[in-house]
């Protein structure tokens, strides 16, 4: 070793040791160790002078050179407490950390005494320009006024070192607060929401915290949350050219690695989503006491590997493993995994996504999902969202300048708390690129209001906002076709989610032609084509959906062969063909989709279930009911296993299964299934949603089929009320028809006429005249008119109905014959008995041409014939049809029909002079009804003649 090296060893040893000591002790050390060598003493003292400045100096040098900066800024403040900083008198030291030292201080001005916390920063500003920037940015931060944010009051630069005076918060750090009190889930989330709201306020003001962690979140004695150090991390950033500049490169090196998002580690741009990541970590600590990584990282490199490569673990797993907490001195009791699993876990995961664009766009979105969770509403974290689309757009078009104006207008319209003047001020400071991105973030916030599938009262506003936004986009972005296309696509997508498929299709078509012109990448075109296809499907134009979906499929097959993307497009196209009733075209597409989905290693999931669902309805349309039922059950089982019951498809499956049970006359199962459908639909779409109304209609309709008349009225009325709100004419007509039928059975014939006529108009409008549904409705109107004492009007209606049915289905069809029977009854009412008798006999003889012997449907016409004869005192003749009808009825399949038939048959026996047989029939019926419904049931009163037909 050279002499110089040996001497340097002594020097550096002394410098290192002395630097850690207070001044007088350092002096003593130097004297003791180098007392015999004045040259050595001098050298050590000189270097100690440099040691003070060295870190800051090397830090700024590293940044100028682009080297990695030393991560942990050592304390450059000695242990001594300065007497004063700027106009403040220092009282005591509150703490120290990477950024510098915090002191408790008092303003040295007798006119207003104020206790503040002063943060004296370890960093250097690097000259006059740096100081000016520091002052400018400080002023912007000083405008943050929110009860949840500790205010920045003042600041300055003293000897080249900046300091900040902040509102002094008497409280304790969030993690310690929770560790000591161990509150339950709701209380913890309540604290978390307060944090989110404060951060969200800042986000709306275009300020990102960048260093959120429990130490920067204090809770005061009354439980109020206060955020400290807002935006300070940014202030410290000497390379940032100005306030709104998006950060890139080494200057974004996080101050607190454990809470840093991936983009902070890799030096990617920082945005509001960066704070969302930190909030995700906070949520994790609040609920499980741990960082979301497999083990507690023992080094920076390990931590970065967790963050960049492994990603965050689910909350429930963290809670179960119970590994070492963040702060061993203040361990937070993890909440039980069962509370965290599912929605909350999904929310945390969404906040902790590696890719910023896949996270919540801002703290407010995160807060909204937490609130949804607390209110037990479906959370957005669990579905693919608009944010994903627009987020991608934002990243790609950060440079687009022209977009700003259009977006700003839309953004500001929705974000109420946003202050225009402030924005204008910031705007002048901002560079265009960052501005576009942030304002677009706001747009996303605003547009998200309109995203939920559930119909919210603000829908009206939302779609008006959209229309306005899209007009502006069309008008003002003509020379930015790429941006325009991207925005129109987002807007189209939202229209689609609002159920406004016509506007969606129009908007998406414009976007598509622009994307073609600008030669957008094929996969983007495919995305758009698929959305357009979806819009047309929702418009009820499946044939128009085929072409775009076909093209999308070709693109996907070329770009992403044999992937689940291809499978998803196959499913869509198969659905389109199936809805267009081209089952042969649909089948191979759906089969291929299923094979592709099942070739993945993952178990069956909702995408597999969606294909099964389609295949089932295909079998259903081909009258392979057993096959359909089997597939529906398979699909339903997948939804239940994966817990994804809150989906459109599951609701639809329940509807179909209910219909099958009803067709098999398993009334109780049908009703139970429809009840589940109603529950799921209410949870998923809201109690006033069309899906909930559909379930109600199906419940009422089943009650009608089962003869449970009392269950029809209120349920059908409720369904109708909801449907009228939404304006789907077909659904409205269905409920009106059912309700009309209910009133008929209750003898309220005028109401029945009005409802039946309205139903008929609705069906005729949607389906046209030549449709069985329309003619069936006309038959009901005819019946209502007849019972309301207007047989002439009834005759015209029933004849029209019968003629159409005969033309479509032929004379022997059951519906044609039903209409013929109704026509016969009208003749009978008009006193044209001969015609009536001829028509009924003819019908009764011809039903067996279509229906097998003993089919329950035969009971109806036979009973009409029996009634006709009984009313004309031809009871003996009535014995034959009624004796044939009675065995076809049963109290379980339709109590009303059974009881009426029993009463008529008994009457016929009496008319035939056989009261014993009449009594035998009555007592048999009383016994069977009593076994099921109890002896006090209305059916028995009716049977015994104590109730009229209209009351039962």
């Amino acid at each position: 070793m050279s002499d110089a090296a040996q001497r340097w060893q002594r020097v550096s040893d002394l410098v290192a040791r002395a630097a850690e000591l207070p001044r007088d002790e350092a002096e003593a050390l130097i004297a003791a160790e180098a007392g015999d060598d004045p040259g050595l003493q001098e050298e050590v003292r000189a270097l100690l002078g440099h040691a003070d400045e060295a870190d800051a100096f090397l830090g700024s040098l590293a940044e100028r050179m682009g080297a990695g900066r030393p991560l942990e800024l050592p304390d450059t403040d000695g242990a001594e407490i300065p007497e004063r900083i700027g106009p403040y008198r220092v009282i005591s030291e509150l703490g120290r950390g990477g950024m510098g030292v915090v002191y408790l201080a008092e303003r040295d001005d007798p006119r207003f005494r104020q206790t503040v916390a002063i943060k004296r920063l370890a960093a250097h500003l690097g000259g006059d320009a740096g100081e000016r920037r520091f002052v400018a940015e400080r002023q912007i931060l000083a405008r943050l006024e929110h009860p949840g944010i500790a205010r920045l009051l003042d600041g300055g630069v003293e000897q080249g070192r900046p300091y900040l005076a902040m509102e002094y918060v008497e409280g304790e750090p969030l993690d310690r607060h929770v560790a000591q009190r161990n509150p339950g889930l709701e209380a913890r989330l309540g604290l978390f929401l307060q944090v989110c709201e404060a951060v969200g306020y800042a986000h709306r003001n275009l300020i990102v915290h960048r260093d959120l962690k429990p130490n920067n979140v204090h809770v005061t004695a009354d439980g109020t949350v206060k955020l400290l150090d807002f935006g300070i991390a940014k202030l410290l950033d000497p390379e940032a050219p100005d306030f709104l500049r998006t950060q890139e490169g080494p200057e974004s090196t996080p101050l607190t690695p454990a809470f840093a998002g991936p983009e902070q580690i890799t030096g990617e741009p920082i945005s509001t989503a960066t704070d969302v990541y930190a909030l995700g970590i906070l949520l994790c600590i609040l609920t499980t006491g741990r960082l979301p990584y497999r083990v507690r990282p023992s080094s920076r490199a390990e931590l970065e590997r967790h963050v960049l490569r492994d990603g965050a673990l689910p909350l429930s797993r963290l809670s179960n493993e119970g590994a070492e907490g963040v702060d061993p001195d203040h361990p937070i009791e993890p909440l039980p995994a069962r509370l965290l699993r599912g929605d909350l876990e999904a929310i945390a995961a969404r906040g902790l996504r590696k890719e910023p664009e896949h996270r919540y766009a801002s703290a407010l979105e995160l807060a909204a999902d937490i609130r949804r969770f607390l209110e037990c509403r479906p959370v957005h974290a669990r579905r693919g969202t608009l944010r994903y689309r627009t987020g991608r757009f934002l990243r790609r078009h950060r440079v687009a300048v022209g977009v700003t104006a259009a977006l700003a207008a839309v953004g500001i319209a929705g974000a109420g708390a946003f202050q225009w003047n402030q924005w204008r001020h910031a705007q002048r400071l901002a560079d265009e690129r960052a501005r576009a991105e942030r304002v677009a973030d706001l747009l996303v916030d605003v547009l998200r209001i309109s995203e939920p599938g559930a119909r919210a009262p603000e829908d009206i506003e939302a779609h008006e906002l959209l229309r306005w936004g899209s007009e502006r986009v069309r008008r003002e972005l003509g020379n930015e076709p790429e941006v325009q296309a991207e925005l129109l696509q987002s807007i189209g997508r939202i229209y689609l989610q609002l159920g406004r498929s016509e506007e969606a299709a129009a908007t998406l078509e414009t976007a598509l032609s622009q994307k073609r012109e600008t030669r957008a990448p094929p996969l983007e075109i495919a995305d758009l084509l698929e959305q357009l296809g979806e819009a047309r499907l929702k418009q009820g134009q499946p044939r128009e959906a085929v072409a775009p979906l076909q093209e999308a499929l070709e693109l996907r097959r070329r770009e992403q062969p044999a992937s689940s993307h291809v499978a998803a497009t196959l499913l869509q196209l198969g659905t389109a063909w199936e809805m267009a009733a081209d089952y042969d075209a649909a089948e191979p597409l759906l089969d291929e989709a299923l094979t592709l989905f099942r070739s993945r290693e993952a178990p069956d999931d909702v995408s597999t279930a969606a294909v099964l669902f389609r295949q089932a309805s295909l079998r259903h349309h081909r009258n392979d009911f057993n096959g359909a039922l089997d597939l529906w059950n398979q699909a339903a089982a997948i939804y239940r296993e994966t817990g994804d019951t809150a989906s459109d498809e599951y609701v639809a499956i329940l509807g179909m299964l209910g219909t099958y049970h009803a067709a098999m006359r398993n009334w109780d199962e049908a009703i139970a299934t429809y009840e589940e459908k109603r529950r799921v639909a209410e949870g998923r779409f809201g109690a006033e949603s069309p899906q909930a109304a559909s379930a109600l209609y199906q419940l009422a309709s089943t009650a009608n089929l089962a003869g449970r008349i009392d269950d029809i009225g209120p349920t059908a009325e409720k369904a109708l009320a909801i449907q009228r709100e939404h304006g789907d004419p077909f659904a409205i007509a269905q409920s009106e028809q059912l309700l009309g039928r209910y009133h008929l059975m209750r003898g309220r014939n005028d109401q029945a006429v009005a409802l039946s006529r309205s139903a008929l108009d609705g069906f005729a409008q949607v389906r046209g005249e030549e449709d069985p549904v329309t003619t069936n409705a006309r038959r009901q109107l005819a019946r209502a008119l007849r019972l309301a004492g207007r047989p002439e009007d009834a005759l015209a209606q029933i004849e029209q109905s019968r003629r159409v049915l005969e033309r479509i289905y032929g004379a022997d069809n059951v519906m044609t014959l039903d209409a013929q029977v109704e026509k016969a009854r009208t003749f009978a009412t008009l006193g044209r008995d001969a015609s009536a008798e001829r028509l009924i006999r003819d019908a009764v003889e011809r039903y067996p041409n279509t229906l097998r012997e003993g089919h329950p449907r035969l009971a109806g016409p036979l009973m009409v014939w029996g009634r006709f004869l009984l009313d004309r005192e031809r009871g003996a003749e009535a014995l034959d049809p009624l004796s044939r009808a009675f065995p076809l009825t049963s109290p379980t399949s339709n109590l009303r029909v059974y009881t009426r038939c029993a009463r008529m048959l008994a009457e016929a026996h009496e008319a035939d002079g056989n009261p014993a047989e009449a009594e035998r029939i009555r007592s048999e019926a009383r016994r069977r009804i009593g076994e099921i419904h109890g002896s006090g049931h209305d059916a028995i009163a009716y049977l015994d003649g104590r109730l009229s037909g209209n009351d039962f």
Partner: protein, 193 residues
């Protein structure tokens, strides 16, 4: 053998005591860092400086098979990468200076010309020179500065990379940074604390 396999193997050999392989490791890592720095220039466009920490991490993820390496091998890798990074930056700075002076007989290849380094060339070269002197006084301190300065490693990571204690790293850093400050800042500021 693929580069990735080679780096992993080299690290394993180094870990088992064969320090001679360090030079070979340096060559591989240096080559990859240079290549990446060039190809990544678009990524850092609009940004004045090169994010060396991110670069080194990227090289690590590309070259080593992380699951096969224990922590100490990783630390060795980062230690070597820190030195390589220093060399990359210095080379860019030298070329930039040569280009500015117009002294070079040879035309710079285009790819070198728009290399990402656009930091202060004089700073970089002065630091390089000073580090050269420091290396004569204490090689270990020079390594500590490389790890912390060029690779952004913290004290614990540096200690692992160099097989020394954390206390040693802290003291070396304190002394070396004070010394560098004195070397690089002239004239001297008023002495005393």
């Amino acid at each position: 053998m693929s580069e990735s396999g080679e780096v992993t193997r080299l690290l394993e050999t180094i870990r088992s005591g064969d320090r001679r392989q360090l030079d070979r490791l340096f060559d591989v890592v240096y080559g990859e860092l240079r290549r990446l720095a060039r190809s990544n220039r678009r990524r850092w466009q609009g940004n004045r400086t090169l994010n060396t920490t991110a670069l080194i991490h990227e090289v690590y993820l590309k070259l080593a098979s992380p699951e096969r390496l224990d922590w100490q091998s990783r630390a060795h890798f980062f230690g070597t990468a820190a030195r390589a990074m220093r060399q990359v930056l210095i080379n860019y700075a030298e070329r930039a200076r040569a280009a500015k002076r117009g002294s070079g007989e040879e035309d710079l290849p285009l790819e070198e010309e728009d290399a990402p380094f656009s930091g202060s060339t004089e700073d970089a070269l002065a630091l390089h020179e000073a580090l050269g002197k420091l290396e004569q006084l204490s090689e270990r301190q020079c390594r500590v500065v490389e790890c912390r300065f060029f690779a952004g490693m913290d004290v614990a990571e540096t200690a692992e990379a160099l097989d020394v204690s954390a206390v040693t790293v802290k003291r070396d850093w304190r002394a070396a940074s004070a010394w560098l400050h004195r070397e690089l800042s002239a004239p001297l500021p008023p002495p005393g604390r």
